[in-house]
Amino acid sequence: MAKTIENYFDQMRGTRVWRSVFRGGTGSSTLRRSLAIQQNVFLHLFSTKVRRRMLSFSATWYLGTLTLGTFLILVSTGIFLMLYYHPSVPQAYADTKDLQFVVSSGLFLRNLHRWSAHAMVFLVFAHMFKVFYRGAYRPPREFNWVIGVILLLITLLLSYTGYLLPWDQLAYWAITVGSNIAKAVPVLGNNVHFLMLGGNLVNANALLRFYVLHCMILPLTAIVFIAIHFWRIRKDGGLYSHQSEPKTLAAKAVPAPAGAVAKGAQ
């Protein structure tokens, strides 16, 4: 049975259509397997080889992957929400009410988007703490740390711009307070404030602006930076593992009292 399925897949990989799409040929040699990764636009973002140790839960707590997961949930639910939502003053709140009351599973859709957003913010922070305390920001990964910080900011901005869209009292005043904070910036404050809201008060222009930022500009920027982030993981030598760092290796090479080194390495 298993054999038949495997044969069937092999046969499929041999077809002209498959080869024209995936370029790589059949076979399970190491070369073929690494080509399958390298020649795929998505998979080539990942390292060709991963240490088995790094796949265990305790190594990363999967925080980066989970963040990506929430991001994907947010993109898909967000697209569905966009089908029901008009970024206009008279309709915005009524549309969120309609999602709650008349759209099939609309409340589930909205709640999934909302909770995933909260989870993403939490996970991004957790991811950064894990990276920080494990020391994974150190060279050669310092640039990727900076990309991470940018992604943190984008996540927070996505969260903030999305907050206005239900157009209820909570949203209105949160954005009023938030934009007034921006206004407190010396010299440029008033201009920043005006640019943010498209006016001096939170109103139709601000709603439209935040909608465009939330659904277009910020997600696209995030996708670009996520791609760079992943690509850099590969280029910087895969996931950080203390044991494989040059310093650790060097320290291991030096003969020393076994107990002390072992403890220091932990």
Binding site: P90, A94, K97, D98, Q100, F101, V102, S104, S105, L107, F108, D168
Partner: protein, 684 residues
């Protein structure tokens, strides 16, 4: 302990023992949790109610019709013009089914008959609540995401008032609330802007205090300020709960601040005593003072009209020389007063004031002992008068009427609950807040200035209803939907007759061309209605037309010249354009027609059930007595009246009998023949 741990670990092994199994289990869990959303959708409340409804109608005789009317799924009334998206009919499925008269369980009860259909205005416009919601809780209650709960049924008339500014027959509570708002002085302090841009005006007339020292004493002012209702139970002035010292200082200021009335202030009619102790009471009765003024009798009942102040303890209040001057000509002291200028003789004035000044109450001022006022007290009194906004109602020398003294109430019916400060234990909703605030304003804080009124529960409900009708919607309604009120008329007749009408304060009781009170008949078409000779006689010596009525026209002691001016004016100016007064003769009808009319009167139309023609036999006390109607009304008026009474006097209780022209003519002939008893003839 150990065994349960073993069991748990065995379970863990079974579920998540190897990666493939764990993956399968987790996928299954995810699938199940994803299934919750469509399941919730399927088992929604509204589906439950619709199924209940279908069960309810299944066994009924009219099941087929009801089933055909029924539409499943979410229903909504969408009215973009007024912003209504009301999905109430999703659960309230039987609203329009007249045959569900026996069903009393909600949400299937049918809607009581109202002048509008649900498709016209939706549901929320009248009932409030959240129309878009499809669950009971969200639709009816106040939630974090929707403040406006369902309006309690006892305030439902307020919703009519959002569009209808004029009084409606079906909204007695709203009408009475609006009247109370205007009468009780609310609008003197609280601005209420109407959708047409004007502000609501008070219909009460708080007395001017410009010359208060001429009228009364400081002791009385003190007692009045402390408790107005102790002086007169019907007193309109609310109780400001003043401290003794504050009442002392305000009274000191008012007396010190009062300016003496210019002109001959004290033309005291000779201090003659009434020749007969009962003469005062009978003059009081003859002049129909009780039509406007009330007196509390020994049993504690207040008897009389409410247009003027209650006179139970008037002798304790006013100074004798002021009362004499007032009775002589009230317009000298207070030009816009509603009190008519009676032409009393000096003798009558002495009798009447003597009678009134005997109405005293020694207890009222028994405990008032005020030392002479000091300048500090007067200055402090002025501060208090300003602080309490006395000038909002009363004219006071040197103090301007404050603008926006109290919070504006133009949109009070839409005030968000989050902006209200409730008392502990109070239900958190707007109607209850408004009612509690009217019932006991100072319970919300002793520093508040709003005084204590003596409204009954029904009056408080009426006031709350009127206030709840002042919503955002009231202000923003598209012009096409508003039903404006008839604007208050400022009609003022010209010439000598006009002066007489003002002087006699006719508008206090009668309405002419849209201006005036409703105590007495509308006189707009009086000239078409009555015969000149009768009018002259009536003004000279009014007698009652309806036996059942208590209020009657006073005798003003007018001179013949004045009466002639007046009568000529009424006969010439107050005519209806609908018909000619002289189009029918006032007499000389053939006896056969008169006899036919009499037959119709007693048999076919049974007019004697309400009217009296033969004082010995007829028992009708509802309509006017007709014994001398032939010398009172014009024949043309009688004819037109019988054809269609409501056309001549909208709202009259005389029924429209749809008479044929012949019947109406015969009855007119009969009524025109009723020229009155010999007594009256002899008097002429």
């Amino acid at each position: 302990m150990q065994s349960s741990r073993n069991k748990l670990s065995a379970l863990w092994q079974t579920l998540f023992g190897d990666p493939i199994r764990a993956f399968g289990v987790v996928s299954l869990l995810l699938l199940l949790s994803l299934a919750i959303a469509p399941a919730k959708n399927h088992f929604s409340e509204w589906r439950h109610y619709q199924n209940q409804y279908l069960t309810l109608i299944r066994g009924r005789g009219d099941a087929v019709t009801l089933r055909r009317h029924f539409q499943g799924g979410i229903q909504q009334i969408w009215l973009p013009e007024i912003g209504a998206v009301d999905r109430c009919t999703t659960c309230h499925v039987g609203l329009k089914e007249a045959s569900l008269v026996d069903v009393s369980t909600q949400p299937f009860r049918r809607h009581p008959a109202i002048p509008h259909t649900a498709e016209q205005f939706g549901c929320v416009m009248c009932h409030r609540g959240q129309g878009a919601a499809t669950t009971v809780e969200e639709a009816h209650s106040s939630t974090l995401a929707w403040e406006q709960p369902i309006l309690p049924a006892r305030y439902i008339e307020s919703s009519c008032g959002q569009c209808h500014r004029a009084p409606l027959e079906g909204t007695p509570q709203l009408n009475s609330g609006r009247n109370l708002l205007a009468q009780s002085g609310c609008v003197h302090c609280h601005t209420i802007k109407l959708p047409d841009g004007s502000a609501m005006k008070g219909t009460d007339d708080p007395p001017s205090l410009l010359h208060i020292a001429d009228k009364t004493t400081r002791d009385w002012i003190y007692a009045w300020l402390k408790d107005p209702q102790a002086y007169a139970v019907t007193a309109k002035m609310p109780n400001f709960k003043l401290r003794d010292a504050d009442a002392r200082d305000i009274s000191a200021f008012l007396i010190a601040n009062s300016s003496p009335l210019p002109g001959d202030a004290s033309p005291v009619a000779a201090g003659q005593k009434a020749p007969d102790p009962t003469a005062g009471a009978s003059l009081y009765g003859e002049s129909f003072c009780a039509s406007c003024h009330a007196v509390q009798n020994a049993a504690g009942n207040v008897v009389g009209g409410n247009l003027g102040p209650e006179l139970t303890r008037i002798g304790t209040k006013v100074k004798p020389e002021w009362l004499q001057a007032w009775v002589r000509n009230p317009r000298a002291y207070d030009p816009p007063t509603e009190m008519p200028h009676y032409r009393f003789s000096d003798q009558q004035i002495a009798v009447l004031t003597g009678f009134l000044l005997n109405k005293t109450d020694a207890d009222l001022l028994a405990n008032v002992h005020l030392d002479p006022a000091t300048p500090e007290q007067i200055a402090h009194g002025k501060t208090l008068v300003t602080e309490y906004g006395c000038a909002s109602c009363h004219q006071i020398v040197g103090i301007k009427k404050p603008e926006n003294f109290a919070p504006e109430l133009t949109r009070i019916g839409s005030k968000p609950v989050t902006q209200l400060v409730f008392l502990p234990g109070m239900a958190h909703n707007l109607p209850d807040y408004i009612a509690a605030k009217i019932r006991q304003p100072r319970s919300f804080g002793s520093a508040l200035k709003m005084p204590q009124y003596t409204f009954t529960t029904a009056q408080i409900d009426a006031l709350a209803t009127a206030l709840l009708s002042l919503t955002d919607r009231t202000q923003n309604l598209p012009a096409a939907l508003t039903v404006p009120s008839v604007p208050a008329s400022d009609y003022q007749p010209a010439g000598k007759a006009g002066q007489l009408i003002t002087d006699l304060a006719c508008f206090s009781c009668h309405r002419i061309n849209g201006r005036g009170g409703d105590m007495a008949p509308d006189l707009t078409w009086e000239g078409s209605s009555v015969q000149r000779q009768w009018l002259f006689e009536f003004l000279k010596n009014p007698n009652t037309l309806r036996p059942a009525l208590i209020r009657r026209m006073p005798k003003f002691n007018l001179s013949d010249a004045d009466i002639n001016v007046f009568t000529d004016y009424i006969m010439t100016v107050y005519q209806t354009p609908a018909f000619d007064r002289d189009s029918m003769p006032s007499g000389g009808y053939p006896p056969a027609q008169v006899e036919q009319g009499k037959q119709l009167f007693y048999s076919k139309y049974a007019c004697q059930s309400c009217h009296i023609v033969d004082t010995k036999m007829d028992k009708g006390y509802i309509g006017p007595t007709l014994t001398q109607v032939g010398s009172r009304l014009t024949a043309a008026w009688m004819y037109q009246w019988m054809k269609n009474p409501q056309a001549l006097r909208p709202g009259t209780i005389e029924p429209n009998r749809n008479m044929s022209d012949d019947d109406a003519r015969a009855l007119t002939a009969y009524l025109a023949s009723l020229k009155g008893s010999g007594k009256r003839e002899a008097k002429q």
